[in-house]
């Protein structure tokens, strides 16, 4: 341990000197950054729209948003892995065209090389920089020590638990002494306890000034995690991703999750993220709002019924606070949003200001038998999910009462990316099967009215 702190102490001294000089110049500066990906017919899907972002030395910045809000794309633009479609992304005043020096990344999936030992994995980044082998070994061991991996140097990643693997990921990133550490949902592949240990370890090292880095940028969809770790949180809205709000967190480290100020901040972010009857339907070619173009996130009908039952029963009695519900049901914030939105779409519940309230239909659903539930579900699908109505209508109208999935996929792809169209189609099939609105043959990819009930 002493050797580790010594190795980094010198690095820190250097950093502090540098800090004075570079405090004027931001580490990262982004202006009007847009990024679109090509989808189907030569059109582009916009995932990031006019993002401005500045990162200075000495702060932990969080990018908080739902999946599909483009926050990971933004991180990859900074990492030099993806180029912006337009706008200006600069690292220390230089436009980012390839992975810039002084930036290291920690991955959600750890991204360790399974055929290299812990030590070799950590040394890899230094080898690429051409660091001479004695120095390389010294720095790698120091980083391994710092991050609490002593004794595991010669282990292979597959012999380690998830938490230990992510520690290797951190050591590998820290050993190159980056100015900016990028973290892409680094704790979301870990179990709750392990993630918490790793978070607090990291925050402790940061507060004690023992990390050989100047700033951290982390992507997360976990609101509490963002509030726990970050000095500044950028909340992203989805479709396309935009910075919806910037929140400063002034609480001193270590922060207490049970602190009323902490809770209040979490609640207010929850509210901010649910407050948005955002138009998901994109009008196209003068047929605004047919609603066919709505992206349907796949949520199992079983989970939906379960959630309705839970909401209807005490202690909620039809009304729940999302953070409370999320923690009781062990859902991530992101997942509970999806569920809430699906219920809202089906008019079984109402989502607002971080609360989820059952509607009259929702209460009725909770008390019905299986067959009656299916009927009610089917009715709501037809009435409130335009694309379900479309599928049923097409099947009714065709003499053969069958239709290939491609018929609907093409139409969906006019409005959304291929992946979204896939997911929407999957949702259509799964909900339609449950509601017994139609049958689907996976082999021939056709919808039909055969044996629908």
């Amino acid at each position: 341990m002493p050797s580790a702190s010594a190795a980094f102490a010198s690095a820190d001294a250097g950093n502090i000197l540098m800090l004075d000089k570079s405090s004027e110049q931001a580490l990262i500066e982004m202006h009007g950054v847009c990024r679109s990906f090509p989808k189907g017919r030569g059109e582009d899907l916009l995932v990031l729209e006019k993002v401005d972002l500045t990162i200075r030395a000495g702060e932990i910045v969080g990018l908080l948003g739902r999946s599909g809000s483009g926050k990971s794309t933004l991180l990859r633009i900074i990492a030099g892995l993806v180029a912006p479609s337009s706008g200006d992304a600069k690292c220390r005043g230089e436009t980012i065209i390839s992975p810039p020096n002084g930036i290291a990344m920690v991955f959600q999936s750890f991204a360790l090389f399974p055929w290299l030992t812990v030590l070799q994995n950590v040394e890899l980044g230094l080898e690429a920089l051409g660091v001479e082998s004695g120095e390389r070994r010294k720095r790698a061991l120091a980083a391994i020590d710092l991050i609490g991996l002593d004794g595991f140097e010669s282990a292979f990643p597959k012999e380690l638990s998830g938490g230990m693997r992510q520690r290797v990921g951190f050591a590998r990133a820290l050993v190159v002494h980056p100015d900016l550490l990028l973290m892409d949902e680094p704790f979301s592949a870990l179990d709750v306890l392990t993630a918490e240990t790793l978070r607090t370890d990291l925050v402790d090292l940061w507060v004690e000034g023992r990390l050989p880095i100047k700033s951290v940028l982390m992507v997360t969809h976990n609101i509490e995690e963002a509030v726990l770790m970050c000095d500044r949180i950028l909340v992203f809205s989805s479709n396309p991703g935009r910075v919806a709000a910037e929140i400063k967190v002034d609480m001193p480290h270590p922060r207490n999750r049970l602190d009323p100020a902490f809770r209040q901040l979490v609640d207010s972010i929850y509210a901010r993220m649910t407050k948005r009857p955002e138009p998901k339907v994109m009008p196209l070619d003068g047929i605004p709002g047919t609603g066919v173009g709505m992206v349907l996130r796949h949520v199992s009908s079983n989970v939906l019924s379960g959630l309705i039952e839970t909401l209807a029963a005490p202690p909620y009695d039809g009304h729940a606070d999302l953070p409370v519900l999320a923690s009781q049901l062990q859902f991530e914030a992101d997942e509970i949003f999806h569920l809430g939105e699906s219920l809202q779409l089906l008019r079984f519940a109402q989502l607002s200001e971080g609360d989820l309230t059952l509607t009259e239909a929702g209460r009725r659903f909770a008390n019905l038998e299986t067959d009656a539930r299916k009927k009610l579900f089917a009715q709501h699908l037809i009435d409130h999910v335009p694309v379900m109505g479309l599928v049923r209508r097409v099947l009714d109208e065709r003499p053969s009462h069958t239709a290939p999935a491609a018929r609907f996929r093409n139409e969906l792809e006019d409005y959304m990316s291929e992946e979204d169209a896939d997911e929407t189609l999957k949702t259509i099939v799964s909900w339609g099967r449950y509601a017994e609105l139609f049958a689907y043959d996976e082999h021939s990819e056709t919808f039909s009215l055969e044996n629908p009930g």
Binding site: A83, S109, A111, P114, A128, K158
Partner: protein, 577 residues
């Protein structure tokens, strides 16, 4: 005491040799001596072959076996180098990929033995009057039997490198060269080694077949097990054939134990799995080397060289360089590229047409095509028969783990064993009983390849989940219903894999299986294989080209129309877990 100087290595204590070092070093030195000795023989002038012709004295067999093995080794080294270059280019350059991958697909279905005709002439002209030319022709034949599936496997691995590792290596500034050696190659390693093993199994067949070649007036007999058997056939010496079979048996076992098993056990660390698996491949040979101290130390410089090599600052040509998704690729270059491909394809087609049309008439094409259909029918019937025989047996064995453990290596061994060595035994039988060659020569085609069906079915049945079996028996599923609903769907993907290999191998074998001789007695079965074989013997190149072309077309069509759809169906619907 001779090992003393090894001890002076800088790490002291750790490097003191132990008893395992003695064993291991003898093995290493022995291997080196054998390689040098075998190598010396190849630079002899060709006349040496006539001066000391292959003899049937069993005492010569170890030497012949060594020569044969050397050819195999050389071929696998060539195949590996080819694989690294070809697969890397195909995987990294989109434009090269358009041409290289379909090319590979066709090359896979080309009958290798038919090729021999041209390659022998080519290499003999390259080194006139030297044994080396004939040796290279033989090595090339083995190479063509090994390289394609290895290349395919590597190409697919490189294309499927996990995205996060790719991003990590970019983010940590690995150069493309470093990335190739640190990420692409290790990731491709397990698949590559498995395919190399399969290639080796197939290779024995071709090394044996290509050692004694007659093209027109030229007859080349390279010292080796294959030519030993050829001579034994000529002399009607059944005992010699027995010796040859025994030698081959020992060689293949040694090859497996001393080379491949250690490599497989070593390569286990490259398996891309985040969890440790319980079933780790083992090798006594590798354990031996891992137990040695000094020899392990000898490997340190190698790993240092390896490291230095992969860290070299090599600028790859622009075509190979990894490109971030920055803007669409140039359409102008694409257009030029397509024109170049189109022009060269057109030119090649024109030349081929000119060559064939001056020498052949449409009736020749018809004859060859009809022969092709006969061979096709043979392959189809034989695969069906082998399926009926081996699927039930394979399932029976595979569902009994103890038995499967013992039978599985045997089946793999039989698949590797060059069946052509055993042909004479069958021919003697046919000659003796005056059987119809058109029917009774056919089983030879599948003699060596049927084992692929067996061992794949055993593997499938062994992997069949026991909970499904228990469920089936608790629902009282029995008889044909059990076969149709439970077991056959479960092993289907495995079966198809085996059957594809078996069918490809049978096409190849037809060239040596449809003609057979025992002394002066010559047997011929009508078919494309005998068509090509007799054209080769007569030195009739246009007909050889025609025969090979038709075989290529038939094999490719058969694969595309029958096996591919079956394989896709199995992968999509019937893959368990």
């Amino acid at each position: 005491m001779t090992l003393q100087d090894i001890r002076t290595a800088p790490l002291g204590q750790v490097l003191r040799p132990n008893v395992w070092d003695v064993v291991a070093i003898i093995l290493v030195i022995g291997a080196m001596v054998l390689i040098v000795y075998g190598g010396e023989q190849t630079t002899e002038p060709l006349s040496e072959l006539q001066a000391s012709p292959v003899s049937l004295d069993p005492a010569n067999l170890p030497l012949y076996a060594l020569r044969t093995t050397m050819r195999m080794l050389l071929a696998i080294v060539c195949s590996t180098i080819f694989t690294f270059v070809y697969a890397a280019v195909a995987a990294k350059s989109r434009r090269a990929e358009i041409v290289l991958i379909p090319l590979l697909d066709i090359l896979q279905s080309v009958p290798i033995l038919g090729f021999l005709t041209f390659t022998v002439v080519f290499f003999m002209n390259l080194f006139p009057g030297r044994v080396l030319g004939a040796e290279l022709a033989c090595v090339f034949a083995i190479f063509t039997s090994q390289a394609w599936n290895m290349t395919f496997s590597m190409y697919q691995s490189i294309r499927n490198v996990p995205k996060d590792l790719e991003e990590a290596s970019q983010s940590f500034h690995l150069s493309p060269w470093q990335r190739f050696w640190r990420l692409d190659v290790p990731f491709a390693m397990p698949g590559l080694i498995w395919n190399a093993m399969m290639s080796m199994s197939g290779g024995w067949f071709f090394v044996v077949a290509s050692e004694a070649i007659t093209v027109g007036n030229t007859t080349v007999t390279l010292p080796g097990i294959g030519s030993y058997v050829a001579l034994a056939i000529e002399n009607r010496n059944l005992a010699a054939i027995g010796f040859a079979l025994l030698t081959m048996f020992l060689v293949i076992i040694a090859y497996d134990q001393l080379l491949f098993r250690p490599i497989v056990a070593w390569a286990d660390k490259f398996r891309f799995e985040q969890t440790a698996s319980g079933n780790v491949p083992e090798s006594w040979m590798l354990d031996l080397f891992r137990r040695t101290r000094a020899l392990r130390a000898l490997s340190y410089p190698f790993s240092a060289i390896n490291r230095a090599f992969s860290n070299l600052h090599v600028q790859l040509p622009a075509a190979l360089r990894w490109q971030a998704d920055r803007g669409a690729p140039s359409r102008v270059f694409d257009a030029i590229w397509f024109v170049v491909i189109g022009a060269s394809t057109g030119y090649a087609a024109w030349r081929a047409y000119l060559y064939l049309s001056t020498n052949l008439s449409p009736s020749d094409v018809a004859t060859a095509f009809v022969s092709g259909l006969v061979t096709l029918a043979r392959v189809a019937v034989l695969i069906a028969l082998a399926t009926l025989l081996w699927v039930p047996i394979g399932v029976w064995i595979g569902l009994r783990p103890k038995l499967a453990e013992r039978i599985q290596p045997l089946a793999q061994f039989l698949a590797a064993f060059p069946a052509n060595l055993a042909f004479p035994v069958f021919v003697v039988f046919i000659v003796h009983f005056h059987l119809n060659a058109n029917i009774w020569l056919s089983p030879l085609m599948i003699l060596g390849t049927q084992w692929y069906i067996l061992f794949n079915v055993i593997a499938g049945a062994s992997a069949f989940p026991s909970d499904l079996r228990e469920a089936a028996s608790s629902f009282h599923l029995r008889g044909w219903r059990w076969w149709i609903k439970v077991v056959l769907p479960g092993i289907f993907p495995y079966y198809v894999t085996g059957a594809i290999t078996a069918s490809g191998g049978s096409w190849n074998a037809s060239i040596v299986a449809e003609v057979a001789s025992w002394g002066d007695t010559h047997l011929t079965a009508k078919g494309l294989g005998s068509y090509i074989a007799s054209a080769t013997e007569a030195g009739d190149y246009p007909r050889v080209v025609l025969g090979i072309a038709i075989m290529c077309v038939l094999v490719t069509l058969f694969n595309r129309l029958v096996w591919r759809p079956l394989y896709a169906f199995g992968e999509r619907r019937l893959r368990l877990g």
